[in-house]
């Protein structure tokens, strides 16, 4: 940026001339060609200062057994399994869902045929918000951001022909998670699949909805009760299911730093543990099924440090703070998705490169499953060819790069270990601040995480506009090309077809049974009974998602976010 800075940063001496010749002025920035040749300061994407060189002096007092230990040993910094990817590769799980249940069923079958090893289903906004496809507020949104599921009939079509006992299915559903999960369980039941054998994940993480994603229906307290009901029901009836995927992904997408993502996610996890314990379940009965979901953003080493720190902090929390005895309760098992917010609409082929680097971070960080974004997702949901390329990216890393051969290959790097320690320390600081606020529900009600994330997002946006941070093709290396790729278009015929199907369902189902099961659900919601059995009965009677959510809205009320700062 200027002589003073480059003078004190020897590593960057060559960079200015090399880079500036290829740079083009961005729109409205006539001086761009001479700017930003080297960063004003060297920081991670999240703004953490990075030294020129790391040495043994940075790890004074470092203790192998305490800070790392071998893979598969407490505190699991190096990974949760002794053999990691030698024993089993990560699950390649592309998140997909669009249009009608028929459309998505075809995409899921296609992905399995291409060598994908797990399923992951995206639902449209009306489904996420607990409205049927024919609701007034669903207009224009049906099938747009995911698949439209209003009743068991839709779920039957969605899962048609899929081997539910063999493949694990992840479902990104939160506020109405109990209902969508019940639909999945009833389809499994009808197909003769044993609940004790099926496995998969419901995201079901309501706290991050209040914090970041904002797809909430009910207020925090009854929402937490629904989460507790699913966790305790799952522990007893569907023991291989992950009833929750505690998610930092959306927190990061909303603009948080890496440390905020980590700390808020782990503190959310602690909140769930506390609530389920309070409901009377022993920690070791449910903790082994808690799972996590992290983002993989652009800064390779910052991300790797985050995953390593995540395992270490979670293991300590579970063992020391909650007294878990079963080592499986100490494990931070997580899914990773590359960062959607890092994708650019401009020069979309660059997204393939970004996604590759991010995926590599997830693998070097020891993820259990991975979604790689498609190059067209800054524009729309991905086309079949784009999602295939994204899956191929994982397959190349898995089978060609050699990266999976050795477990935690970066351990012992002065830089990576220091970054991991610093990330861990910053994470504990946030956990303490949230504890002081009275826990995560209280912190959310005070708007604490929301404000922290918004501030971080705003700082980053300003850095982009001052070109202190560079996004290739957006604020530097800009070209005038038009979009070179085709994108997926979802038209409104999906909405009409879904509405017709719902009208038909409402005519043909046993209305008396629907009414009585809905009545029972409404009454149970007013008590402290576990709601899962009641929801399952509604689902079996083909009551719709909207009808069930309406009953619950009647009892629980709805939530609107207060204006924070």
């Amino acid at each position: 940026m200027n002589k003073e800075n480059t003078a004190v940063m020897p590593g960057s001496v060559e960079a200015p001339e090399d880079r500036s010749v290829t740079r083009k002025p961005g729109p409205g920035n006539g001086h761009a060609a001479v700017s930003a040749a080297a960063p004003a300061e060297f920081t991670t994407l999240s703004g953490v200062p990075i030294e020129r060189l790391y040495t043994a002096a940075d790890l004074a007092g470092f203790d192998y057994q305490r800070d790392l230990a071998d893979p598969g040993e407490y505190p699991y910094t190096r990974g949760i399994h002794r053999t990691m990817y030698r024993g089993k590769l990560w699950t390649m799980r592309q998140f997909s869902g669009f249009g009608s249940p028929e459309d998505t069923n075809a995409r899921l079958r296609y992905l399995l045929k291409q060598g994908q090893t797990g399923l992951s289903i995206a639902f449209d906004l009306p489904t996420l918000m607990g409205y049927d496809s024919d609701h007034l507020l669903a207009e224009g949104e049906v099938g747009k951001c995911g698949v439209a599921i209003s009743s068991l009939a839709d779920m039957e079509v969605l899962l048609r022909g899929l081997p539910l006992e063999k493949v694990t299915t992840s479902m990104t559903i939160n506020s109405p998670a109990a209902i969508i999960w019940a639909m999945y369980l009833v389809v499994a039941e009808k197909n003769g699949a044993d609940w004790k054998k099926i496995s998969g994940t419901t995201q079901n993480d309501i706290l991050k909805e209040y914090i970041a994603q904002k797809e909430y229906i009910f207020p925090p307290e009854p929402s937490m009760r629904l989460v507790v009901d699913t966790i305790t029901f799952g522990a007893r009836e569907v023991p291989r299911w992950n009833p929750i995927s505690i998610s930092g992904y959306h927190i990061r997408e909303a603009g948080s730093t890496a440390v905020q993502e980590l700390a808020f996610t782990l503190r959310d996890g602690m909140e769930y543990v506390e609530w389920v314990k309070r409901a009377g379940m022993d920690v070791d009965e449910f903790a082994p099924r808690l799972s996590f979901f992290f983002n993989a953003h652009n800064d390779l080493f910052e991300e790797i440090a985050k995953y390593r720190a995540a395992r270490k902090v979670w293991a300590r929390v579970m063992r020391e703070r909650y007294g878990a005895k079963n080592p499986r309760s100490w494990l931070c098992r997580f899914h990773t998705q590359t960062a959607g917010c890092s994708l650019t609409a401009q020069q979309p082929y660059n997204n393939v490169i970004r996604t590759t680097i991010q995926a590599l971070a997830g693998v070097l960080g020891g993820t259990q499953s991975l979604h790689t974004n498609s190059l067209d997702e800054a524009w729309a949901l991905p086309t079949e060819s784009a999602v295939t390329l994204a899956l191929r990216t994982q397959q190349v890393i898995a089978h060609e790069s050699g990266v999976p051969n050795a477990v935690d290959p970066l351990a012992g790097s002065y830089f990576v270990e220091k970054l991991t320690l610093d990330t861990e320390r910053a994470c504990w600081d946030y956990i303490e601040r949230i504890d002081a606020l009275g826990g995560m529900v209280a912190a959310v009600e005070k708007g604490f995480p929301q404000r922290e994330i918004h501030d971080a997002a705003y700082v980053y946006q300003q850095q982009l506009e001052r070109k202190e941070k560079i996004i290739v093709g957006v604020n530097d290396f800009v070209t005038d090309e038009k979009r070179p790729i085709e994108i997926l278009v979802i038209d409104d015929t999906v909405a009409h077809r879904q509405s017709d199907k719902l009208a038909e369902l409402r005519k043909t189902r046993d209305c008396a049974r629907v009414q009585s099961t809905l009545e029972a659900l409404g009454s149970a919601a007013g008590t402290d009974a576990n709601l899962m059995p009641y929801i399952l009965e509604c689902v079996r009677a083909y009551a719709t998602l909207g009808e069930m959510c309406d009953r619950l809205r009647g009892v629980f009320g709805t939530y609107e976010e207060p204006a924070f700062g």
Binding site: P27, G28, L125, P126, L128, M129, Y131, L137, A138, E139, G140, E141, K144, C145, E209, Q213, K214, E215, Y216, E253, A254, G255, C341, T344, A345, Q346, A378, W379, A380, H454, A457, Y458, Q461, L464, E465, I471, V474, N475, K482, R483, I487, I490, D492, E560, E561, A563
Partner: protein
Amino acid sequence: MDKRIRVLVAKPGLDGHDRGAKIVARALRDAGMEVIYTGLRQTPEQIARAAVQEDVDAIGISILSGAHNTIVPRICELLRVEGMNDVLVLVGGIIPEEDIPGLKAQGVAEVFQPGASTQDIVGFIREHVTSKAL
């Protein structure tokens, strides 16, 4: 000429992704404008009503869900019904190129796509509101 530009930042539809809307709101405030943020999941009717009640010079509609072709024309229509013909309507979010002419034909002054800078948005509002209403 001292009158501050008043802008309604609106988030219609069911989508909860409010990072962009909130960043734009803050950038407009930092640029000296008065900003009213509707909060999430406002219907076109609620947005038009807020625009009238707050007597705004410009409306920034943030939409990332793909429902823009349904929602934005309705907001424009309601604004016309309310007689707010000179309010500057801007749209930001994930809006494919081919949808932009249709939105502009409905009365949208400009569409800001992913990667747009807040300074460009500030500049656009200053230029177009000043020449019209102030």
